[in-house]
Every structure is written in structure tokens, then in C-alpha cells.
């Protein structure tokens, strides 16, 4: 048997490095704890090992090794359900929950990151095997990694909509933002707080695709969750009136949202809303269908 050490190690290192690069506390604020890091790093190393070992196995005509890749796919599906379960179980203790759509999106991202580690390892080890040059393998692995990460970079709300400051007012007990009723607030003091210290935005979709996508309830929950985590929320469990809500103007399709945040800085709120990812599950493209295109005329 030939010496496959270089092939294996370069694939393993590249794949693991890729997973490590993707392992950061980002806008999802997750995972932001050491144990989460360890779990995902170890699983990423396993994924990289599976990818790296495929090339030597095939070179030795051990075709059954391909079944290992199937095993890996099964393993990564488990990662998705693991993430989903753990996030769902803590969602009820969030002051502003993520919502099931956002959780599903995060879980899918984590699954995909393991595939990225595996494919990076596979391509690096393949190139090292073929060219017998570690440098070429590193380059190929890095290129594949960058390519996949770039192509998976999802859209943000800011790409499909404009976000502007909105005006908060009350119609009797009804909290209104730019003319859309958000909720009925019975407490006079809470109304006073909303009028003096809360901030609000209006999200104006750029086209029909954006209008349908932003109308999705899960997408709106992701918006308010992101805004609340990034700006901080002035609310406790016994103050449901300060739960931020995003409501839809059914006439125009605009989304309005008011939040009683720790930092009442409208620029930051607009930034947080714009940077919210567009969830895969909420994405709709009516303009791609003949009926949708015709209806939008």
C-alpha cells in the first residue's frame, strides 16, 4: 500500500481548519459557549476525516468505503436534529423566542457546515494525491472552501427591502406604527413608555418576492429576535406588553415593528434589521412563476 499519510493529513487539516473558521459566534449569537464549540469542532474533525479518507480508499479500490460517506450523511442529519432539539428546548426561556423557522434555519446551517468540512477535506486530499504536492492541495482546499462558503452566503433583509424609521402613536389603547395597529395596551404607564422611549421601523419590500418572503411569520419572528438580542430588550416575563411584534400592513405589504430596547438607537435598529438573514424556509419567489409575474403587472 502506498504512503497515504500526506494525502490523509492534508485533507484532515484543511477540513478541520475550514470548520474552525466557520465556528464563530455570529449574528445568531450561537454557539457562544465553550461546550458548543467543542461539540461542533469534534464533529467537524470527524467530517474532515471521512472526506480525507475517501481518496486513499478509492485509490486502493476499496469501493465499499463509499458507504462511509453515506454514513456521514446520516451522521450530519443527526447534527441537524441535535441542534434543533437543543435550540427548541431553550426557546421557551428566551424573552423574545427565535421561533421554529429560525431554529430550523440555524440547524440546517450547522448541518451544511459539516458537509463543507467534508468536501474541503475531500478536494484537498484528492489534489494532494493527484499532484503529490501539499501546496497544491492546500490551495485547492482553500478555493473549494471559499467557493462553497461564498455561494451559501444567504440574502439579508437589507438586500430585499428598505428599512426606515417609523412613527409610534396610540389610537386609544392601540399601539400604532405608521398607521398599522400592533397591539392593544391597557396600561397607561406602558403606553407612556412606548411614546417616550420606544423606537420603530418600517420595512418596505423592494418587489413582490420580498413582499411575500417578509410576510412570513417565521421571518418576522427572526427579525424581532435579532433586534431584541442585538439592541437588548427592556422587558421581563411579567411584562408581555413590551414584547416586540412585527405586523404587516395588508394594503402595501410593508412590515412595521416597534421595540422597547435597552439602547433606543434607531440607526442600530435599522442595522440589526437589515443584517437579519432571509430564512430559507420563508423564501418565496412568486415572480418566477408565470401567474405571479402576470399578477404583479
Amino acid at each position: 500500500m502506498a504512503d497515504y499519510g500526506r494525502v490523509l493529513v492534508s485533507g484532515l487539516v484543511l477540513g478541520s481548519a475550514g470548520r474552525l473558521l466557520l465556528l464563530r459566534a455570529d449574528y445568531r449569537q450561537y454557539p457562544s459557549f465553550p461546550r458548543g464549540y467543542v461539540t461542533h469542532l469534534v464533529l467537524g474533525i470527524i467530517a474532515a476525516a471521512l472526506g480525507a479518507i475517501a481518496v486513499p480508499a478509492l485509490a486502493e479500490k476499496e469501493y465499499t468505503a463509499v458507504t462511509f460517506l453515506a454514513l456521514a450523511a446520516q451522521q450530519f442529519r443527526d447534527i441537524r436534529s441535535m441542534e434543533r432539539d437543543s435550540l427548541e428546548s431553550v426557546d421557551s426561556t428566551e424573552l423574545v423566542p427565535r421561533g421554529s423557522d429560525y431554529i430550523e434555519d440555524i440547524a440546517k446551517t450547522f448541518e451544511a457546515r459539516n458537509y463543507i468540512a467534508m468536501v474541503t477535506a475531500l478536494s484537498a486530499s484528492l489534489v494532494v494525491y493527484l499532484s503529490d504536492s501539499i501546496a497544491a492541495g492546500v490551495l485547492a482546499g482553500a478555493a473549494v472552501f471559499a467557493g462553497i462558503v461564498y455561494s451559501l452566503k444567504g440574502e439579508k433583509v437589507g438586500d430585499m427591502a428598505e428599512v426606515v424609521e417609523a412613527k409610534i402613536e396610540f389610537d386609544g389603547p392601540l399601539l400604532m406604527v405608521d398607521g398599522v395597529a400592533l397591539m392593544n395596551i391597557g396600561h397607561a404607564k406602558a403606553r407612556e413608555k412606548y411614546l417616550t422611549r420606544a423606537i420603530a421601523v418600517r420595512i418596505i419590500p423592494k418587489d413582490d418576492n420580498a413582499r411575500v418572503t417578509l410576510g412570513n411569520v417565521g421571518q418576522r419572528q427572526a427579525l424581532v429576535h435579532n433586534a431584541a438580542t442585538q439592541l437588548g430588550i427592556r422587558k421581563d416575563v411579567d411584562e408581555p406588553e413590551f414584547t416586540p411584534i412585527a405586523r404587516r400592513n395588508t394594503e402595501s405589504g410593508d412590515i412595521v415593528m416597534a421595540i422597547f430596547s435597552m439602547e433606543p438607537d434607531i440607526e442600530c435598529l435599522i442595522e440589526a434589521v437589515k443584517k437579519t438573514p432571509v430564512l430559507e424556509s420563508s423564501k418565496r419567489k412568486p415572480l418566477d412563476s408565470p401567474a405571479g409575474r402576470k399578477a404583479s403587472d
Partner: protein, 64 residues
């Protein structure tokens, strides 16, 4: 898993007896608006519900 009844009226606080008839939720009468606000606040803190104003002298506490 906890089972919680949501979107139902937990209690009604009113200054006008005529406005509430045969309520399934408990009704609390208040002498004036100030007392009504106070009772509603205290009830909402206990039930973790939200106070809504019906603009006819009644406040309702609803768990969301």
C-alpha cells in the same frame, strides 16, 4: 412539557357593572379608574397576562 391555556380572558376589571354579564372569567369591580388600573396591574403580574383596554370601562387580562 407544560400545558398552558393561551389567548383566553383570565380576568376582567371594570368600573361599570352593567358592561359585564355572566362572565366565565372572574370579574373585579373597581371604584374608579385609578383602582381599576392598579388591580389590572396586580392581576397581570400574578397571571403573567397582558392588560387590554376595551374602552368601555373594562380592562381584560389575556395570556398570550
Amino acid at each position: 412539557m407544560d400545558t398552558v391555556i393561551k389567548e383566553t380572558i383570565l380576568a376582567i376589571v371594570t368600573t361599570d357593572r352593567e358592561r359585564v354579564i355572566h362572565s366565565a372569567a372572574p370579574v373585579f369591580y373597581a371604584g374608579d379608574e385609578e383602582e381599576r388600573e392598579r388591580v389590572a396591574l396586580l392581576l397581570s403580574k400574578v397571571t403573567l397576562g397582558m392588560v387590554h383596554d376595551l374602552e368601555n370601562g373594562c380592562l381584560i387580562i389575556v395570556k398570550h
